[in-house]
Symmetry: C2
């Protein structure tokens, strides 16, 4: 069995997590961005943790890719009747998760403990770990104004041009001990096809992780296909923040801690020209469960000989 | 127009509030117990405020007498799926109120401001005022253990024998300025047929109210009919706390600040023998809207000549 740690953000990353969990859920650790966490009427919402939690529990809403299946919206409907204009959408079932999390945090538990508890309640075999128990918030500089991530991504629908990104609080954030141990023990570390700026770089900004990851076998799955992000605003952000929308600009974001990139066949040529390490290709549109399992299997196949070489070396 | 301030607790008191509001909602102020307020997974729930709010807004659930009509229970259902055993029941629509309240309190607003805001949102003409913006909690000594009110009333279904009652925090609680002004300006103050121990005495324990009320015309509506509480555990509490279940024991709880009692016809004889002030009777089962309006009208009729006598005197 291969011990895998995957770094994941929201919907995009969670699709690969689904595939990895289907192959070897018990050996899988999912280390998740929490810099998008937000306050919803006093409740602590962890959108990326929940997306991955619901995927691992097999209860994610299949159409949207986030939230719970068979969801209802009576609370939001009533909020509107009371004159609210909620732009951050929380379904009734999803709300139950936030209630349990908030009560546990108020009672003094850490987010990582609450997350492990939610996994137990939902029968999740994999380990799901928030990047930190400390507050970190992604802010994006748009039109001269620093916006919190959800304000940019959900309220303004990722439309404004992003001039800078900051992970406020990350300078004081401590890594989660269980995550450090899982990274140290991992045979393979996977960077899921999430937006680096808003999902994986916040994780790497927490002190400690980068140092452990640097010495391990790391495979990244490209979030770009033919110069376009499958989901979200990565292409626009590369253009405004890195100066060009290219695989080289993407690869540079993680630097030399990545040993191999898995890209879509349409990007194979550009990838080979842009990266000195291992490059492999596989169709990366993760539309169906079969797609997700296929890409996860390809990653493990790619990692095996490299791992063996490392073990021999 | 008669300016009325009614002191009210939960379902029992709110039935009279419904009648008073139907007669003269704009001239009505409802001063409500908050010593039953509770934390629900990090949300601030004010059960008595909400019962009176929903009654005044015409959206109370008519079967239960509390909560919102056309209620749904998806959040609670999901909490159970996640392994919770909630005994304090909050419907989906009701939850929206708690979300708005909690967010406003977190933002630094006072409970009295939030309550006024909720009234505006629901088009309520009457003024609804919490007894204090400070934390006060009713505790009941049962079998050697101090229980918070909701634990006693909802979780243990008011079954344990109550040996003592305490309103923790009331020694530091300040009255709400708008409530003091309404009491000072009132032509009539009504004590709704709520349980004195758990609903109205907590209000009177907040410094300032008793002093103003003492100089005003006060009518109380009996929460007992034929020695039985219409709702809840008053009879049992009178037995264990006052030593006897009688109108005299009930009347003694408010002492001499009450000018007149409105009792059920079955209690008229005992009431006359137990109270030196004005005693009148009217059937007090407030089952229908018509019952509630009838009793409210009777109160105003009773108050008028007394008020005129006071004005002349």
């Amino acid at each position: 069995m291969v011990r895998v740690v995957v770094l994941s953000g929201g919907v995009g990353g969670s699709r690969l997590v689904e595939g990895l969990a289907a192959i070897g859920g018990k050996q899988l650790t999912v280390l998740v961005n929490t810099a998008d966490d937000t306050d919803y009427y006093g409740l602590h919402v962890s959108p990326d943790l929940d997306t991955n939690l619901y995927v691992l529990a097999g209860i994610v809403n299949p159409q949207r890719g986030w939230g719970v299946m068979d969801e209802r919206w009576t609370v939001e409907e009533q909020l509107k009747r009371l004159g609210e204009h909620p732009w951050f959408h929380v379904g009734d079932r999803d709300l139950a998760t936030h209630l349990i999390r908030t009560a546990a945090l108020h009672a003094g538990h850490f987010l990582s403990e609450v997350t492990a508890d939610l996994c137990r309640r939902l029968g999740v075999e994999s380990r799901l770990i928030p990047m930190t128990d400390d507050p970190v918030q992604t802010f994006l500089l748009c039109e001269g104004e620093w916006l919190p991530f959800q304000e940019y991504f959900v309220h303004r629908q990722a439309a404004p041009l992003v001039r800078a990104v900051a992970y406020r609080g990350s300078e004081h954030a401590r890594p989660v001990e269980a995550a450090l141990r899982a990274l140290e023990a991992a045979d393979l570390i996977v960077f899921a096809p999430s937006n680096p700026y808003t999902s994986l770089l916040p994780i790497l900004a927490v002190s400690g992780y980068r140092e452990v990851i640097r010495n391990k076998l790391v495979f990244a799955v490209s979030p770009l296909i033919g110069g376009q992000a499958v989901k979200g605003s990565l292409a626009a952000m590369l253009g405004s923040l890195a100066g060009e929308v290219s695989l080289r600009a993407l690869f540079d974001l993680y630097g030399d801690i990545v040993d191999g990139w898995l890209v879509d066949p349409v990007d194979m040529e550009e990838a080979r020209a842009s990266f000195e390490g291992v490059v492999a290709c596989e169709p990366l549109l993760l539309t169906t469960h079969a797609d997700r399992v296929r890409v996860a299997q390809r990653l493990l196949q790619l990692a095996n000989p490299l791992k063996e070489r490392e073990d021999r070396g």
